[in-house]
């Protein structure tokens, strides 16, 4: 468990891409090229977010439903994929 926690800490925690709550500070973008770069980066992050939700999230949601059917518990601290 300790090793797993160390590995997770080093990688930045749980979640495959884990972008959902990380858009607090997107940078200013004072000039138009800076704004374009910022917008492209953000679009990339949002696309990855949607991809992760659809693909990894789909797997997780199916696993949770399976656990619920079988009367087991999906362990969020063990069965969630770490950030790649």
């Amino acid at each position: 468990m300790r090793d797993r926690q160390t590995r997770l800490d080093a990688r930045g925690g749980y979640g495959y891409l884990r972008p959902m709550h990380t858009i607090d500070n997107q940078g200013g973008g004072d000039t138009w090229p800076a704004r374009v770069v910022r917008n492209v980066r953000l679009l990339g992050r949002l696309a990855r977010m949607v991809y992760a939700y659809a693909v990894v999230g789909g797997r997780i949601r199916r696993a949770v439903r399976r656990c619920a059917r079988e009367g087991r518990v999906f362990l969020v601290d063990e069965q969630l994929p770490p950030r790649s």
Binding site: Y14, R61, V73, V76
Partner: protein, 339 residues
Amino acid sequence: MRPRDPPPPTYPFGYRHPPRSGNAINGRGVPEPVRARRVFHRGSGPPLDWDALDAFMDYYNIWGVVRNIVANSWTLRNQDGRVARRKEPVPDPAAMTQRIKNLAREFRADLVGVAPVAEKALYDGVPVPFPMAICLGWAMDREEMVHVPHRRAAVEVMRAYRKVSRVAVRLARAIRAMGWPARAYGNPNSTDILHIPLAIEAGLGQLGKHGSLINREHGSNFRLAAVLTELPLDRDAPVDIGVDDLCRTCRRCVLDCPPGAITDARQLVRGVEKWYVDFDRCVPYFVKTHGCAICIEVCPWSEPGRGPQLAHRLLARRKAPPPKSPPPPAPEETGSRPG
């Protein structure tokens, strides 16, 4: 309203090694007035104790919620920006405050108030970025919210966050065009500022027993965002609409909370005695139901049109002289006999 068949507080997910209690991290029982620490939503900082459940919620959410989170993030790309070179002088902060409030209402904010940014409204380690905060509220569609804890309500909550974010971004942009720095904070999972303490200071409402803000007109049926700025503004005063008087005796949210996270007594949290919701009980149910919100919708203040009447009655009762105590009963009436 009463929630229709809320799911039971049993969970198909859990921890093998439960993290440290969120109540301890939140400072329940701590007598010193210390600043709040992050417990659930971590932003881009180091992982928190409850990180796994937070990450799980990202994937367990319904698409309608995720879609609105994505749209909100896109809206907030302009939370910062270029400040105009020419700074507009502000000889009369009161007039400027009125102008900003009118502008916010033009952008369709339902609530607007101004407060100074105190350290207690920021998470531990976050420096005060700007001295003044303009707090904004967006009323949610009650027709959708009566379905709590259904996914329709969850989508409506995130839609309200997206709308109020848009107001904050437009307002911040207008202030920057005046030559004053300003930044919009519209992320519901923001890990910089605490919206509720700011909004209380800005006079938008009072803290209710369910741990949410209660406004005179909208009850708890609204969502918050803020613009932090250097623009000199006149602050609003906190309001007293009688929330404490009602919450002391009302038990609606306590009875209707499926995991039993709401208690009848105020608790000592980071040096202040206040209403507090049990984090460890609330959050798993919150995750399971994609945002729950039962407590804020069953609250009597949230019923459309009822808030002003309640406030009027509660404050009038407080002003009324106490009822005269009845004269002590005669000895014959009590059946007692002098010895």
